[in-house]
Each structure stands twice: as C-alpha cells, then as structure tokens.
Amino acid sequence: MSDNKKYLKPVSVHEAITMSKVCGDDFRYIAGATDVMVNRRQGNEESFCLIDLCGIDELKQVTVKENYLSIGSLVRLDDLKKHAAIVKEFPVLIEAAETVGSPLIRKSATLGGNVLCENRCIYYNQSEWWRDAVGYCLKCEGNICIATGSKKLCYSEFVSDTAPALISMDAEIEIADHEGERTLKLEDIYTGDGVCPRNLKKSAVIKSILLPLQREFHSSFHKLRQRQSLDFTSLTVAVSIDKNGKLKSVLGGVDPKPVVVEGNSDSNLEEIIKLALKGSRAIDNEMFSRNYRRSMISVFLKRSFEKLIG
C-alpha cells in the first residue's frame, strides 16, 4: 500500500503561496520539519501535501533594514550564533534558541518554525491509537478537553522558546500570504485558543523576524524543564528592558499563547508578577504540576528583575 501523498518544494515565497492555492486547504508548510514530522508520525497532522520551504534562499538572510535587524525565517536555530549582529544586539535570542530541543534538533529547526511551533498538551501529543483509547480531545476534533473537562476551551500550551525572547524585545514579523504582505507585532499572531493558536492564514509564510536596533536591550531568560536537553518548556520567562527603561515580560509554557506584561523600570514589580500570574491559564497537562509551574513564575520573574533592575 503506497500512499499517494504529495511533496512540493518551491524556490520562492511567491511560488510557495501559489502552490498552497493549488492544494486547497490540504497542505502543510514545513521548514525544519522537526515539529511537523513528529506530529505526522502521531497522526496529528495528516495533510495530503507537504510544501517544503527549505529551498527558498531569500528566507535565509540576516540583514539590516532601516532600524531593524531582519532575520530570515529559515535561519536555523543553530546558526543564529553565527551572526555577529545577533550576538551583539540580541544575545538573549541565542540563549533562548540554545534551549530548544537538542543540538540535533537545532541543526534542522528554524527560527520561523519555532515561533510557529504547534501548541502541546500531554493528552494531545500522542499516537492516533492513544487518542482513540482516551477519547479525542478538543484539539483533535473531540468535544471535551481531557485535562480540564471543559467543553469550550483547549488549553494546550504555547511552547516556543524563542518567541518569548523575541516578543520581549518588541519583535515584529513579516508575513506573506495570498492577499499580500504585511508586518505584525509578533505577539499579535497568537490567539490564546489552543485549538487554533495562531490567526495567520493557512497560506501565510513568515518571511522574517524583525528586531528593533538601537534599543540597547538588557534581557534575561529562564526555562523550566526536567532535563537540560530535549525537553519542551514547562515555563519560559523572557524579560527585556531597553535603554529608556521600557520593561517587557513574556511567559511561555503556561497558557495557549505567550503571556505579555509590560511596564518600565519604575513599575511596581509585584504588580507585574500579579498580572503575569493572572494572565497565565496553566493547567495540569504535563509532567510538572500546574501549581508548581505557577509558583515558578514568581521566582523566575523576581530573578529576572533582580538581574535587570537590581
């Protein structure tokens, strides 16, 4: 039995979007493929067509565009450290990227792919047989959240490690889809709905990540995980403060979307922690308990503030 599924390999963004139109809705872009191929193996991703973006060279550049550093979405996580501008201006991005997966994963995985990393839940990231045995959850067309019993909301977690670091530095993303091109604040693409965690059109291709230059960020990064390699995040905390004292705290791993709390160096830091806790809808859906992860939010934020503000 051979399947007749399709694989396409465009060489330009334009061609990718054109190909996506031909495939209707039944396709999936892949970049590093480290996330999608695992989801396919487990039956959580069954698109008829894979459109492999890895041949699009225009997405592999790191350039300065006006006041921004533009990092092509296909720059591999392992390669970020090879760009002097990133090392100098945005070292926290490298710090965050180095915590993703394993060294082997990072040699394939891309920055664009990581910010689009699919939300995770221990009741969802399982084989077809497993999900059939437990009864399908909201994220795989079932009618109940196994973790909470909720009939409405899926709380699968947002697990990108690089996105919190990027958002803390006011990153924007350049997107192209069949309607054209636009630039959005990175945090604005996340919906907070675990079933459909991003509001991008299916045909959308991230072209680049834009990071503002001359803001002189100081940043801190923490990731909670059981092992020092391989593990997805149980809580990511990225905090950046710029030369004007603008402070941005971003949490991952404790909500279907990144939790963002802004302030400045004079803000009541206890208040920021409170808001962060209030914004985080962590549930018991992984190996660390909800309570523990929530209590670590305060610890990690306090440590970040101590480092950045003193």
């Binding site: 694989y7 487990q42 497993w130 437990v134 190996m287």
Partner: protein
Amino acid sequence: MRSIKIKVNGRQHEVLIDEHETLAHVLREKIELTGTKIGCEQGSCGACTVLLNDEPVLSCITPAMRCDELSVTTIEGVSENGELHLLQQKFVEKGAIQCGFCTPGMVMTSLDFVRKNPHATVDEIKEALSGNLCRCTGYKKIIEAVAETIRPQQHPAEANGSKPHNGRIVGTGMPYIEAAKKVQGKAEYADDIRLKNVLHCSFLRSPYPHAKIEQIDTSAAAKLEGVKYILTGVELPEKFGVLPISQDETALAIDKVRYIGEVVAAVAAETEAIAKAACNLIQVKYKPLKPFFEIDESLNDIGTEEKIHEHVKFNNNVHKKAELRFGNQEEGFQSAAFKSKMNFEFEGITHGFTEPHAATAYWDENGLTIITATQVPHYLHRALSKVLKLPLSRVRVIKPYVGGGFGGKSDPFPHEIIVSYLAIKTGRPVKVRFSREEVFISNHGRHPTKMTMEIASDETGNFRALDADIAIDGGAYGSFGVVTTYYNGVLLQAPYKVENFGFKTFRVYTNKPQCGAMRGHGAVNSRFAIETLIDDLAHQLKMDPCELRLKNFMPSNTLTAGQYRITSNGSRESLLKVMEQSQWKERYGKLPFGHGLGVGCGFFISGSALPIIRNELPQSVVHLKVDFDGRVLVTSGASDIGQGSDTMLAMIVAEVLGISMDKIFVLAADTLLTPVDLGSYSSRVTFMAGNAAKMAAENLKKEIINSVVARKEISADELNLADDCVFSNDRKIELTWNEAIDFTIAHRGAINVSGKYISPKLGGDFKGSGAGLSPSYSFGAVVTEVKVDPETGAVKVLNIWGAHDCGKAINPLAVEGQLEGSWHMGLGQAMSEQVKYFNGLLINSNFLDYKIPTSLDTPPIHTNIIETADPEGPFGAKECGEGAIHPIIPAVANAVFDAVGARITKLPISPEDVLQKIKNLSLPNAAQVNV
C-alpha cells in the same frame, strides 16, 4: 510515488519512494543500510543520526524527498578501506560501546562535532551529545572517546583498552570482541535481519483497561488485499509466563482484556502498512468492567465487581503475599534506644533500552526458528514449545545482537509467540517490530511500590530490628512478580547485620501493563527505604552516617538472618573508598545550605542459586571445539545483550589456555547450536557461564597436556600453557599452540570438551528460603554531591563517587561500563523517570516525556572497582551489572537532606516536593521570628 536520486556513502542510488517517507525508512528499507537505527521515530533519541551534505540530521524525522540530489553519509560510510576512523577506534578502545544500538547515531553526531570543534572542552562535548540517548554507558566512556579523538593521548599504552599486561588476559581491560562490528553499523539487531518473502505482523491492541470481549469481527480486514492471516486469542489458549507458578498470560487476550494495549488480534500481511490498515478494520465489541488502577483498590475486597484474574484466592486482586520473620522483632524494637519509621512511595519506571522489540520467525524442515531480541532464549524456547505444542526438539531460538535489555527482554513475550504461530500457519517468515509506544506499553518494568519501613538501634547505633510492610503494583500479569515480591523483603538482610528482621509484601494485579524484572530486581525500592532510614537514624544518634554503616556491616564468611551464605564482602572497602574520594570527613555536614553530600550502600545476588524451572540440570554449559586450525570455538547459551558476556567467555578461555584472543571464536545464544544457559537475568552470567567456560577450558587443557604426555616423556605437572605455546618448565619441550593441537588431534581426534556450572546447595529449610539465595553476593557504596536551589527545589547532582565489589574484574573496561551504566540508570530513577498513567493509559510512552537523563544531566562519575576474590567465582569474579544501582538512589536523596534538610520519601525526587519540604522546615523558624 516519486523517484529520488540520493548519493549514500559515495554511491548513487535512484529510489522510488512514497513522498512522505522519512530518510531513515528509505535508508533501512529501500537501500538496506541498516546501520542507521530507529529508536523513537520522533527525533528524541538520536539513534538515526546521519550526515546530510555533511550536516547531522535526525533521519527519522527528515523527509526523504528533501534529500533528492543530496549526499548522505551513514555509519557504514565512516570507515574507509576497512580502516576505522580515529573516532571509531576511540569508541572501541575506550569501551564506549555496550549494546551498540545508540552507537551509530552517537558516532555520526560526534563525527560532525570533532570535525568542526577541534578544540572542544568536555563540557562542549557533553552539550553536543545531549540529543543522543544512551542507556548503557552513563555517557562517561563515550565522552572520553570523543575527547581523545580531539586530543589523542600522549601515551596510548595507558589507555583503558591496553594490551594484556604480564601476559595475562583476565584483569586486562578489553574492548568487546564485536566492538568494531558495532561501531561500523555492521552488527545486525533483530529488526535488521532481512529474510526473503517475509510477511509483516501488526497488532490490534485494547483501548480498554478491563473489559469483556464480546465479539471480534475480522471480515472487513480479511478482504483487504495482501492480508494473509488474522489471528485472535482463541487459537492460542495455552497460558504461559516466565515463572512456572505464574502461568497467567495468553498470547492474545481471550474473552477479556486486562490492560490498555493488550493484544486482541494480530494480522500477518505483505507489508507493514497493510497489516496496520487491516488491524484498523477489525471491529471488536467490548463490555467494560470496573478497572483497578491503584494498589489499595486491589488489596481490598472488591465486592461484586469482577476480579482481574479468576485464579486469585480471595475476593480481591492480590497476586502474591510473601512474609518471612527471623529472630524476635518485637523484642528488638522494644529494647531499642533509637527508631526510625517512614512511609515511602515509588513510581514505576521502565527499562528504556534503545532497541525496540523485534522478531522474525520461520518454519522449515527443522521446525520453528525465531530470531528475536531476547535476554532468555532458553525460557522462550520452553514457552514456545508449551504454547505452540511443539516438541522442544522442534524449536530454535536465536538471539542476534540485542540493543539493551536491563530485564525488559527477559520474559517470553506475546509477540514472539504470535509471529512464531503465524509463521507456522502461513508457511512464510513473519516479522514484527515495535514502535517505541508499544515498547512502553509492554513495560515489565519496576513495580510502583508503597512501603512502610522501620529500623531500630541501641544507644551506640547497633541495629536491633528491621521491619517492612510492602505493597507492589504488578499490573495485569505475573511476569517475575512472585520473585519481586520476595526480593523486596529478603534483600534487606545484608549488608548490615540485623538478627531481628521481618517483612510482609503483597503483589497486586491492576489493570495496567505488567511489571517484572528490572535492573536491581525487587530490591531497589526497599534499598532506598532502608538507606534513608539509616541516614535518619544517624541524624538521631548524632553520628556520621558512614560510621553508622561501617559499624553495622556484616563480616565476610558469615550467614545472614535468613541464612544467605556471605563469602567475600567488600562493603567496608567500598565505603571507605568513596568516603576518601569525596572528602567525606572534611565536608559532610559542613557544606553551606543548599549544598550536600549523601551516602548509600547496597548488595545484590550474583546469580540466583535456583533455576526458575526447578530441575537438576546444570545452569550453564559451555562447549569448546578445536580442530586442525587451532581455533577454539566457544559455544554458550549465554546472552550478550551489551554487557559483554561474549568477551568475558573468550577472555576466560584464552586465559586458561594461554592463547591470544584471536584464536577464540564465540558462538552464543542459539538454542540449536549452543548448550543451555539460563539467560541474562539475576546477574548470573559471569558467575555461572564464566565458571562453565573456565571448567571447559581446564578440561581442554587437560586433554592437550595428556596428549603431549603420551607423546613425549614428561609428567603432566611439568607442562605449561602460555603465550600461545605448550612448554615444559625446563623448556626442553616447546610446542606452538598449533603443534600441540596437532598432537592432541592425532592422539584422540578433533576435540569437543564441555564445562558446566551447578550452584551448591544453599539456604534454610523454611518456605521462601530459596528467594535471594545466591552462590555469591556483590557489595558497593556510593557518595553523591548535590546542590539544591532553595527557591525552586531543583536538585542538581554534581558528582557521583561509586565503588563496587565485583570479586575480580575479569574485564575491567566492561566492569566500569556496567557500573557507570547502573549509576546512570539509578540517577534516572532518582531524578526524573516515572511511568505515568491516566485511567490506565500510559501517558508518557516516548523518550520525550519519559525522562532518561541526557549527557548534560549526568554529572562526572568517579568509578572504583573493588576486588575481594570470591572463593567460587571464576577467577574470583562476581556480579557487577545490577548491584551498583542500589546505593546511588538513596545517596542522592540523602545528599538532598544534607543540603537543605528535606527528607525524600517519594521517587522520583520532584522539585515541587523538595520545595514544599523546605517551606515546611522554615515555618517554625518564621513563627519564632514573628513572636
């Protein structure tokens, strides 16, 4: 389907592939380069690593289409013109290869790393390897191999795998005899075996934990083209189990299912895909029954609900109760000055061997043959004979290279019986291989356990009494469980002298995958408990916990409370060694808050003195055959699963005969060609097969000497065998090995001699006295150093100092590897590993969520071999494969106590638990401040 052009190891291939096929699948199945291993199929074990245009990729998650027009280097392409790459040489030489299943991926990752990082530090090597899981080595020797590739040593003669010193082989570190094969990806594991015209088998597994099977409709599946046979449980009604007293499992579920994942139907089809598709078309009607998931539920009367097994005596799900008492516990506790009593909880853990189960069976004029990843060909042989109703003489079990076992491949398994039956029924070879999820579901791992233990001492710390109440969760079937039930208790009677000792253990059935034997079998959790109590007792006594242990160690040549015969005993030497290395006296109790040292000790059997199936046959036999070419063929049923038993046999034979290793050929674990050895379990192989090999070699030596004596005028005791020669003391007679063999064959024909091992009669005459009896016991100690973050509760192990009394290290390189692997596995149980269930469904059945420590999670390991020369072991040797896991786990927990005062009573150690305990400890202080 599309055609791609792919250059693999310099050779151009044009391959027709499914467009979503992975590179790993294309390499293994289409190009037939099986050196690239598949361990997890989700990029989290690294066994499949290859180089794609000189960059490492995880081939199990790399789309093959992406590789069109690109070049791939696999493990088969690393050595050139038969010459190993320096990195491969170092892997071999440093003992970085045990089971060898992770080796290809490890080598590919390291190869890329050493090319790009010619000045890397050890920390950078650890980081680079942290996406490649190894379950055997604890990474230590792998890291050393990579480091030495980067900076070759000045004095290669000092390397671990050096040439025999003083002409002696025993006692010299030797790379495994098959290491070069493994490091080039040439060693064939069960899934690498390629037979012609093979059918593939797939299973339909139960989605219910406890349910009646009302109907199975296979009609739709049968119509699928390519389906050759659909099997359901009724065809194989005969029960089996590894222990004669627990024959409670059938090959497939009949009438009812007892755990989620139990095999309900099996399909043999032309391809794996067809077999899987057919399974999905089988309709099963279940009637759910009340499931039992918790120990307490299964211990109690279950009212009107249906029991898991009908054969259980009472109206509950208790599988086995074991109770033994010695001395007078009541008096011991009453007269004691200090007592410590705690409740403990242990999650189940599982073996995590990197090679998933796989097997191929075929039927021909010689009957049934199965090639399977097993630790116990002999017991599988018996089980196949029983279930398939075949005479023993019509069954052959072949063990190929096995990618780790740790107890997890030591039961006869349903899939082995099923493919054997299907091979008979279809007349074609039938193959099965498990996904990683199926491996986890099959489990047979360490039992989840609850226990209460109490220890008492007099004013000066002499142990007066010990008592344990234990309940273990066996899952759906018996496996080794009866033994586990006893081991939890009986293996508390050493290394400390306690006359007033007793325990009671219940093993219950629950509706979860069965538990069985895993490294350190049965004794690991109760060892954790007693070592924790001793630490607490020392605290009460205001005594150094090492001193308290030294005070209570039993001597050599003594009997325990339950009449185990202790011969050599290196407890004291082991503990003193790790105390010295860790600067225990200078540092224990004196480190700042958050930083601590902890200690644990342990002991283990060196082979079960009683065979599983009671009989008078030898527990191991070794044959030696020599013909005109002078090569000695060693045949043994012993199963090398990565622990190095083939090499051990060769070394012993070479040592006795005074010949070099290249004159030895080992053929092992093929039940047609090799004599019976009971298998790789209970740490018995070096002791028993080693003794049989030694006796066989001594018999061969006698034959040779007798032949020389018959020909030359010399008395037998004047003759020596050494340096590939047979010579007299005065050197008047000096024959090469081949000349001596010619003499011998001329004198008595080509030679076949044997040796055997049978345990001495041991033990008391009470019921249960056989549990834990062994001809010898190993002893050991571990000190660990930890740092605890008092705000997060996170524990980081900084150092492991371990010492283990293995009697005599026949192959020190292999012994170190076993010890380091044990300590690493213990670290996993201490820190991160657990099997977790949701309504009976295993939640973390993959290497991402089941957390085996990576290289970055493994601290420096300081390894010490202690030698005490056992009177009955071959050259004084005893076990080293399991005993070392016992002391490390409590050593970590006791270090946490030293660091922050938090007493750990649950495994794995969770930061949440540690944090809560730290908070509780600070409460009274906080209150004082407020007042």
